[in-house]
Every structure is written in C-alpha cells, then in structure tokens.
C-alpha cells in the first residue's frame, strides 16, 4: 500500500511540487483569502482610517439590492456573452491559421511572426489604436473602409456608442489581438500529428476536407481542450479594452465584473466592494472551469 504521507520514497515528489505550491499559495490562495477578508469590511484604499465591519452587507448589495445588483448581473451577462462570442470564433480562426501556416514553404516563418505580433502588444495599446478605427464619424478607419467598399451606401456606424454592437466591436478587436497566441499552440499540436496518417489517408483517396475532419481535429483534441479552457478564462478577465474605450458604456452594455471591481476599488476607493466582486467572480469562474473539464475530458490513452 503506497504511503501517501511525506516519506523518504515520495520526498522527491513533494520537493518537485513545492515551488508550484509555494507560488500558488503566495499569489493565489493568500490574495483570495485577503479579498474575502476585505469584502467583510468597509475599507478606504490606503487610508489610515480604521475599517468598519460590514459582514455580508457587500454581498447582499451586489447580489440582491434592487439599486445596486443590476449592474453586477448585467456585467456578468456581458462577460458570458463576450466569452460565447470570443471562444468559438478565436479558436476556429486559430485552427484555420495554424493549418494554413503548417506548410513547409520558404519564408513561412515570416507569416507566423506577423500573425503572432498582435499578441505581443499590450492590450491597452491595441485599444488606443482601435479607438481610431472605431471612431463613429466618417473619418473613422472602419467607417471609411465600409463606405468605400459599398460605394457610399453604408453610413458611418457608431461602433462603440451603439449599445447593441459595442460589445461585438470589443470582441472583434480582442479576437484580433489574441488569435496569434492560440494559433501558435495549435501549430505545435498540429506538428505532433504523425504525417503517416495523412499519407495513408491520401492513398485511400481521402480529400483534404476529409483528412481535416478525421485526422486533424481528433489529433488536436487535447490541444483544443486546453486552448478552449484558457481562452474562456482569459475572456472572462475582460478589462483593459473596456476601461480605455467605453468605460462600461454605452448603457452598461460593455461593463464587466472586473471593470466594476477595479473602478469600485481604485476609482472610488471602496476596497470592500471591489473585493466582494472579485470573490463572487472567482467562485463563478471555478464553477465554469470545472464544468468545462467535466465535459471536455482529455484523452489519455496512447493510440
């Protein structure tokens, strides 16, 4: 019977795991515990004033108060809508790009670099540049492009000021900025698929599309699961673009939970409320991630 406690035979195991455990404790467990602690008080950011006890009042306000809870639920809804838009689109696009770039042409690495470059730029920089693209008058680059394309038929669109499309606009720029990251991971996954499978398939007269469906996608299964899960987690963290481009507007259509948490804590100095937002949100993310892992079980057997 294996002895699970710390013994000389699994000491090495514990030692190997300890750096990760220490980092997780320092950067995840302790901050989360602190956030929960702060959420029980009324604390002003970096003030000498003593904190006052509020108990679960912050949570009651976020979840049940008729005046204050709508913004939380709207932000949560926006987060989920954003994730549902970005995850499938970004993953599909990444697969497409990776398949296209998985050829042995001379100079293909330049294309890989160009598609990866948006990932390197800080999101705030990307947002500032896209604010010029999304300007709502006819001088905005996107509007000029549409106008030229349609010979003047399409009038200028208020990309960031129209509550129906503001979130979609932000989703488009997020996909553009992030697809390179997924592409690189999937590219690595593609190169793991043995080329004999493709050779065998072409001998059997399978066309490219059939090869894609029956060899590439199953071969990428583990990679895709990983990519979907991390893209979901990243997309739920949406903040930079909203802070710079729309500040949660128009009509709260782009407000996200992280945006509410940061503006409460650092804009209004209300650390207790900001912490309560983050605690609730982390619990929701854990539920979503566990559910994803349950439904998308990776294949472990060696074929």
């Amino acid at each position: 019977m294996a002895n699970k406690k710390l013994g000389s035979d699994n000491l090495a195991g514990w030692l190997f795991v300890s750096p990760a455990l220490i980092l997780l404790t320092l950067f995840v467990a302790i901050p989360f515990g602190s956030a929960f602690f702060f959420s029980l008080y009324n604390i002003k950011l970096n003030s000498d004033r003593p904190k006052t006890w509020m108990g679960i009042e912050q949570y009651r306000r976020i979840l049940f108060d008729p005046d204050l809870s709508p913004i939380f639920y709207k932000s949560l809804l926006n987060n989920l809508q954003f994730a549902l838009m970005v995850v499938p689109v970004q993953t599909s696009l990444a697969v497409l790009l990776a398949v296209m770039l998985n050829v042995k042409l001379r100079g293909i690495s330049y294309f890989r670099v160009f598609y990866f470059m948006p990932v390197v730029f800080p999101m705030s920089l990307v947002a500032v540049i896209w604010s010029l693209l999304y300007s709502r008058d006819q001088l905005g680059i996107a509007n000029t492009f549409l106008s030229k394309l349609s010979f003047g038929l399409i009038s200028p669109v208020d990309w960031l000021g129209n509550p129906k499309i503001a979130l979609i606009s932000i989703a488009i720029l997020s996909v553009w900025a992030g697809v390179g990251f997924q592409m690189v991971i999937i590219l690595a996954g593609l190169q793991e698929i043995p080329s004999e499978l493709y050779e065998a398939a072409s001998i059997d007269k399978a066309n490219k599309f059939q090869q894609f469906r029956h060899i590439t996608i199953p071969g990428l299964r583990n990679t895709l699961i990983f990519v979907v899960i991390i893209t979901t987690i990243f997309s739920l963290r949406l903040f930079d673009q909203v802070y710079i481009l729309t500040q949660g507007g128009p009509l709260d259509s782009t407000s996200t939970v992280m945006f509410q948490a940061v503006t409460s804590a650092f804009g209004e100095g209300n650390v207790g409320r900001g912490s309560a937002f983050t605690v609730v949100f982390v619990l929701i993310i854990i539920v979503i991630t566990v559910a994803q892992r349950f439904f998308l079980r990776e294949q472990r057997e060696v074929k």
Binding site: S47, L132, G140
Partner: protein
C-alpha cells in the same frame, strides 16, 4: 639633515591630513518632487522650475523630479509614509487626501504672505473643513467654450457673447449649433472632448457646471444628493445637452477644433496653447450656455502639497520649494505654457492674456464671481467641485450618469441612480466625519 626631513614630513603630513579631512559642509538635503506630467507645456515648465530651484539652492538642497502619469491612482495606492516630500495633485481631491491623512498642513510652514496672495477661489479649494491650508497652487482653471471667430461669422452667427452675463441660452445655443453644422463640411459644430472618455472622470468636471446652471448643487444643503442632483431641472438640462450629440465630432484624433472641422470646443485652459498656435487671433473664449440660472463654469485645478510624513530638514526644504514655485516669475512661466489663470493676484495682474483686453479675459472675470460653496444664482459663475472627501465617488457617479445620458439613457433615471449611490456612500462612511 634628519631634523629638517622629519620636520618637513610632519608639516606635509599635517597639510595632507587637513586636505583628506572631509569639508565641514553637510551633504545637500534630498527631497523628491512628484509632478503631474500630462500636458507638454506643463512638463517643460516643471522641469525648468526644478532645475532653477536646484541651481538657486545648489549645495544645500537637491530636488529630484519624478513624473507621474496618473497621480490620482498613485496617491491612492501609496501609503502616507512613502509619499514624495512635495507633490502636485488635482485639487478637487484635497478633502479626500486630507481625510486619508496624506497631506501636511502648510499654514505655519509656508510663508503666510504667499498663502494670502492666492486667489479667493484657490484658497477655498486648498482649505479643509478644519480651517487649515493643505495646498498651494500655481494656477486656477480657466474653463469655457473656445470658438473660431472666422467660422462663426462665416456661418452667420452674429451675436457672439464676450462676457459671461450675455451668455447664450440653451435654446439659442442649439440654433448656433444648427447654423454651424449646416456650414461645416462634416456636418459637425462642437467638440466636447469625447475622446477623453466622458464616463472616466471627464464628465464629472466638464458637465457638472450644467447641474449648477440648472440651479442646484450636486449635494444639497441637507447633505443629500437625492433631491438636488436628480431634480427635474437638472434632468431637463442634461437631456438638452445630450440632444446636441448629433452636432458633436467624436474627436478620435483630438484635432477636430485645430483642423477646423468644428467651430466650438468645450475645453479648458490646457487646450489654449495648441488652439492659439492653430487659430491665432481667431481664437476667442465664449461663456457656456445658460440652462436657466445663468452660465456656470468649473473652477479648481492642480495644487501642490507636502507629504504628511515629511519632517525635519526635508520639511523646510519642501517649504522652500513651494515658496519658490509660487513666486510671480515661476507661476507665469507655467501659465504662459498651459494657458491657465495665475493663482496669485500679483501674478494675475502681470499676465497679458488674462488681464483686460487679453483673449482669455473671460477666465479671470468668471473666477472673480465664484459661487463658492452656496447654492448657485444668476449672479455667480464658477462653481467649485464639491469640497468633500466624497469627491471621488461623486466624480465617478456623475461621470457615469453623464456618459449614460449622452448614450441615450433616460436622464432622470440615471441622475437618480447616481444620487442614490452618492448618498449610500456617505452613509457608509458616516458622512466622512
């Protein structure tokens, strides 16, 4: 021979040891100076004054200048013990900073004459409810419409108000915008600095004068925002303001006014240097439209303070720096580069742009009839931002409300939401006693 050698060695050793002994002068007192570096003119001015200060005090004081991109966030995230000895900050948050014990008292530390010479509105901004002075300013805000004279007359707008008592009414202003938009190539007439992000704090400074113009303060005399901020007159005024969106240039490149796409710009003194370079003598200052109780404008600008935990020699050095930069010479050096109104009466009298006949004469005239902390009337113009530790919350909530109203939301509902949030925050913090 031996005697002479010994004596020579002894003398040489004595001279040598005197040379090696460090000089009796102490090392210069090191102080840190944090400045708000957003406008190019201001960055240059603060560098010039710090270099001049170090030269004037070379050997005894050395001030190190650090530029901060977002001073509000920096102050919020830094505990008092780690603050710089001297720093510049947005005076609207003075009550909030004092409440959080970050500022040192200046009365008794900085020369009384210098503090007395500050403009009345600035003294009001920099004095806390405990009657002590916590900051000193180089300049006061100038805030009004800025207009392109040539474009206005080309569009047939004949009566352009030059003094605050002749301001356009909101209805007249709508007509002016219609005329300008009809003549302009892009069909736009006004720039309200939409690119600053109305919901991110700009709304709380730029458009809260509309609240005063509708006849009320943000927080009423009874200490509640509900009943003041969300009164029907304010909702009506905000709705009118939002209806002008069709004439507003989104200003993504921040060049709508300088590239002559629009004839009017809703911007403050920090815009005037670039505007003057682009428009020359065509640049004029016009009072904001009147929503019922007379034209209203904002007041209050950056201020300089001392860190609460600065003591001893550093404190004396910091006081010297503050006195140095508030001499007429250095005030005018800054205001000539950023267009703001000099904060001391003696400097104001020497500023050509701001005295009678100068193109920014309106700024000084508006400030001289400040509404102070009382309910706004037709006879006063500039309104201070609410002097209270609750200002960050008030600013965030009013900015959000204006941004939502601009985006088409119901003005009454948004203002009520904001007012309730402000009152709730005051209740949580025991009215910031």
């Amino acid at each position: 021979m031996k005697k002479v050698t010994t004596a020579a060695l002894a003398v040489a050793g004595l001279i040598g040891s005197i040379a090696i002994v460090p000089s009796a002068q102490a090392a210069p007192t090191e102080i840190t100076v944090w400045a708000m570096c957003s406008e190019i003119g201001e960055v240059k001015a603060v560098k010039e004054q710090t270099d001049a200060f170090n030269e004037a005090n070379s050997g005894s004081i050395n001030a190190t200048l650090v530029c901060k991109a977002d001073m509000g966030k920096t102050l919020g995230a830094t505990p008092a013990a780690e603050l710089a000895d001297v720093f510049e900050f947005d005076g609207e948050t003075l009550a909030f900073q004092v409440y959080n014990r970050k500022l040192a008292r200046l009365d008794g530390v900085v020369s009384a004459a210098r503090l007395k010479d500050q403009l009345k509105s600035i003294k009001a901004q920099n004095t806390y409810s405990d009657k002590h002075v916590y900051a000193i300013s180089q300049y006061e805000a100038g805030f009004s419409l800025l207009g392109n004279k040539a474009m206005l007359s080309a569009a047939g707008v004949t009566s352009v108000p030059k003094t605050w008592d002749k301001a356009w009414t909101a209805a007249q202003f709508t007509d002016v915008l219609k005329k300008l938009a009809a003549k302009a190539e892009g069909g736009k007439a006004l720039d309200i600095k939409e690119n600053y992000g109305i919901g991110g704090g700009w709304g709380g400074f730029a458009f809260t004068p509309i609240v005063a113009s509708a006849g009320t303060q943000i927080v009423g005399a009874n200490g509640k925002a509900v009943g003041a901020l969300n009164s029907p007159a304010v909702a009506k005024a905000a709705t009118t303001w939002a209806s002008w969106k069709q004439y507003v240039d989104p200003n993504a490149d921040d060049k709508a006014f300088t590239n002559k796409r629009v004839a009017l710009s809703w911007c403050g003194h920090w815009c005037t240097p670039a505007y003057k370079t682009a428009l020359g003598n065509d640049l004029i200052a016009i009072p904001f439209p009147d929503f019922g109780q007379g034209t209203k404008s904002g007041q209050g600008s950056h201020a300089w303070a001392m860190g609460a935990k600065t003591t001893g020699a550093k404190k004396a050095a910091a006081a010297k720096y503050l006195e140095f930069i508030t001499t007429d010479k250095w005030i005018l050096n800054t205001t000539s580069q950023n267009g703001a109104v000099p904060a001391s009466s003696s400097a104001l009298a020497k500023s050509p742009d701001h005295i009678a006949g100068g193109y920014l004469e309106l700024y000084g005239k508006q400030l001289s009839v400040s509404c102070g902390g009382s309910k706004p009337t037709k006879a006063c113009v500039t309104v201070p931002r609410t002097v209270s530790a609750a200002w960050p919350v008030i600013n965030t909530q009013t900015s959000k409300a204006f941004a939502a109203i601009y985006g088409g939301a119901n003005a009454q509902a948004e203002l009520t939401k904001a007012a309730k949030a402000i009152d709730l925050d005051a209740k949580d913090n025991n009215n910031y006693k």
